[in-house]
Symmetry: C2
Subunit: 298 residues, 2 copies
Amino acid sequence: MKCRRCSELAQVRLPSHHTGFCASCFETYFLRQVERGIHEHKQFSKEDRLLLAVSGGKDSLGLLLALSKLEYDVTALHIDLGIPVSSQSARSTVEAYCAAHSIKLHVLETTEKGLPIPEVKKRVNRPICSVCGKIKRHWFNRFAYENGYNVLATGHNLDDEVARLFANTLRWDQAYLAGQGPVSPAEGRFVRKVKPLCRLTEYETAVWCFLNGIEHVLAACPYSAGASFTGHKKLLADLEERSPGMKMQFYEHFLQRGKPAFQAIRAEAPPLNECARCGYPSSMEVCGVCRIKEQLEA
Amino acid sequence: MKCRRCSELAQVRLPSHHTGFCASCFETYFLRQVERGIHEHKQFSKEDRLLLAVSGGKDSLGLLLALSKLEYDVTALHIDLGIPVSSQSARSTVEAYCAAHSIKLHVLETTEKGLPIPEVKKRVNRPICSVCGKIKRHWFNRFAYENGYNVLATGHNLDDEVARLFANTLRWDQAYLAGQGPVSPAEGRFVRKVKPLCRLTEYETAVWCFLNGIEHVLAACPYSAGASFTGHKKLLADLEERSPGMKMQFYEHFLQRGKPAFQAIRAEAPPLNECARCGYPSSMEVCGVCRIKEQLEA
């Protein structure tokens, strides 16, 4: 197979696009797909102050490199969860990467915020991944809001988005279907959330990291039994193999034709409260994160 | 495993219901599920004059037996498509079955209506299955309307419905998602369409036919490359195996939470025309079936 752009020998095969690229043209392709996702969905512009949530995995570090190359005003935020060994390793990976590439980095420790994850795991009788996710989302948003970043980006890729959409669709969850997508608009103390990798698969992001020599964290979190939606991702990979391009089509058509239907019937949903403790948006009187803190303090 | 109802040895295992039944209690279960589907979705009552489209396959013959046992006022309609060997075999299967069970049967020949399917296949440059389906749906409805049947039933089972829903969802087809379900209300010359097997899987219907000694047509149509949605059905079977009950949940939640969203945004869709040739509803000036006839007459 020849590279579609330069006709040299292709090194990366992309069946969903019925094509392949050499390493250098794949770089161009990847950056153009990031740009296209950003522009098509009006995610942000060069004028926005962007905070990127960086775990140390391939998606967030790969996106950090792409946004730097594309010359966006991006700052990294890493949350140190205080999990023995794994958190130290993730943190030092991110610190080394940002130092080597002269990228601004903030590190926030959940332990300092009264939420060491090992302690949360011991005390809260719910799946730790969903609790930890809630805490991270709260602090990513809060840090952005309190420090003047108007856009919060995450490294969710097309496979993440499609697997989540599939799970939401199996349940026909109206609220989640009305809200899912590459952009969640700012509202009160919620800053705008964006997903610049929404047009790129896990495989493409992995290739991007490999070709750019990015050393990212490989080990899974010791508290998680595996990545989320593993079963759905396998099923969707089978579907993609049968019908290349299906994942992207499912996602794009949802954004064009599915989401608007759910947004329309959710239009009169009540607005969010402000949490009585922290002041951040919540559907309850006290937000989920403050309730976890209350459990730990009790 | 023991039968859930009578504690005898179970002969039919139903993982999606976390249970199993002996042959006799499976009979009770099957009929109750048919009744439940009919009542929950207000499909029809004992007062309605019901026409059942009967191909000779397990679903339509199995449903014919169930509706007779449940003492609904049901008449069978078989459409003879005029396909050599296969149509004769299907017709004689249906005729023998209805004669043996004293069930009223009408047979309509598409050849008499100017639409012999082998000729249609030669002259119409589109996939024959979709064209043939269009012709059958037209004549099932038209026969019901012209002969005073106010409800038209088909043997679509839960697997058919879920595979179709999955296909419609992958494309987020708003019109199809607004219209799919076990009941399509009457509108103009469209009689009410119903699917009494909507709570029963292909497997359950096959077991029902086997236990009742129903001799149904096994051979696939020689013009079709295989049953529709084969790939989707396999994928959904994998999902069901991972999460028993998921197919039913996907379908039921769609009816409760998904379909209303699409119906709401489709509310202002223009009403159907009457076909200038046959007078039956159509989105075009001349309906699809009359256009096929025009092609054959040309």
